[in-house]
Symmetry: C2
Subunit: 243 residues, 2 copies
């Protein structure tokens, strides 16, 4: 029997019907098998299936539960199947992060479009930012708190870049300036870094529960959104001792 992997991780012994998780028909029928849902050897769209499985695992078991093997298990394939499509764990995480960035960008864009007044427009983006992170903390974690991402992957690089561009653009609009693509003044850079740092930092602290201390001391029932709003609008009443 030798020293095998010991865990009964065979996706299907040989011809056993696939475990068919989720909606039972999430996987598109492969090209042209011998009729029946007999589970073909070749999946047909494993890459996308794996990404969706990864998203499910992430939402269900959190960041620490998101392993290559768990994803393969969720998708009903052998534990080594993902390797062929993503290379290694970094590959899978990076592609998943790219998916996250696209969702994220879409959420912010649609939220901005829905805003009518200038004030609402200014607050829409940061609010959508935090709202996405709260709705998908796992995804946000993959995107922003994983050391293990490979930004040289075009899909990730592109999606993350779009996120930055959207932000810089919004700041530019608010300052009613043209932000030329290649050069920035110190003040422009500071405005962008400031907006991004503020929202990103707020989100991190909020997700980590580190704002509980503040929220608990605020007037009864103040929501994080309200605090965010106040934070963004505060006209520096507590002014820095200026030069």
């Amino acid at each position: 029997m030798a020293k095998t992997d010991t865990n009964g991780e065979t996706a299907r012994s040989s011809r056993a019907p696939r475990k068919t998780t989720s909606t039972a028909a999430s996987r598109p029928a492969p090209r042209a098998t011998s009729a029946k849902t007999e589970t073909p050897y070749h999946h047909g769209a494993l890459r996308e299936a794996l990404l969706q499985a990864a998203e499910r695992v992430l939402e269900r078991d959190g960041l620490s539960g998101l392993t290559l093997r768990a994803v393969a298990r969720e998708a009903g394939v052998s534990h080594a199947a993902p390797t062929h499509h993503f290379g290694d764990l970094t590959g899978l995480l990076s592609e998943l992060a790219a998916v996250g960035f696209r969702q994220f960008n879409a959420a912010m864009a649609s939220s901005c479009d829905a805003a009518t007044t200038p004030l609402a427009r200014a607050l829409a983006r940061p609010k959508a930012y935090v709202a996405y992170a709260q709705a998908h903390p796992g995804m946000y974690g993959i995107m922003f708190r994983t050391e293990r991402l490979d930004y040289s992957r075009p899909s990730l690089h592109e999606a993350a870049e779009a996120s930055f561009a959207g932000l810089a653009n919004a700041i530019g609009m608010m300052r009613q300036e043209q932000i030329s693509g290649d050069a920035l003044t110190l003040n422009q850079g500071a405005a962008i870094a400031r907006a991004w740092s503020m929202v990103h930092g707020f989100t991190m602290l909020l997700l980590d529960g580190r704002l509980e201390d503040i929220l608990g001391r605020l007037p009864e029932g103040t929501t994080p959104e309200r605090l965010l709003e106040a934070m963004l609008m505060a006209p520096i009443t507590g002014k820095l001792p200026g030069p």
Copy 2:
């Protein structure tokens, strides 16, 4: 021979002289051994030795290299020794984070004390914050980007709390208000959240290299410190469309 752990991880076969890492005398001589540095069975101060070893491993091999076994190896003890002192990995990381928070708080405090002008005093804390993170990115990672921390541990809770208190205090001084411990107005809370979010977010983005894009577009040779300064002082020239 059975199926052993297979890796030659025996710290010392039986009486072999300890590997004596670092300064060769970092470990205080145990109580009263039979003279000679013969490596006693009981270490004498393993807990502290393990924390120091963990810090070394963290600086040398980064966050991903910081494992229970690696720390034990570095300290020259068996891989299960840490368990007795920290329970599990979460325990070790939490205690290490507590050490980090204490260093962190001390760095900010001394930096504040050294400042003379009011402006310098206002900028000292955030600058020290970022400086610490840049000097000890691993530690900062342990403190702020690990999900695996147990804040119910008194040492960690206390050290992290002190960090928050220092911040709240500084904001209170700048606003020339008394910040009563138990209640905050929305504006006060917003000011604190804002300062913390801004500096924390900036630090995270900086460490993750996500500000390179901005820094590269700024006037030749603009340092992160300069950007931080500009970010903190910017008198909202790009004003939000007010109500």
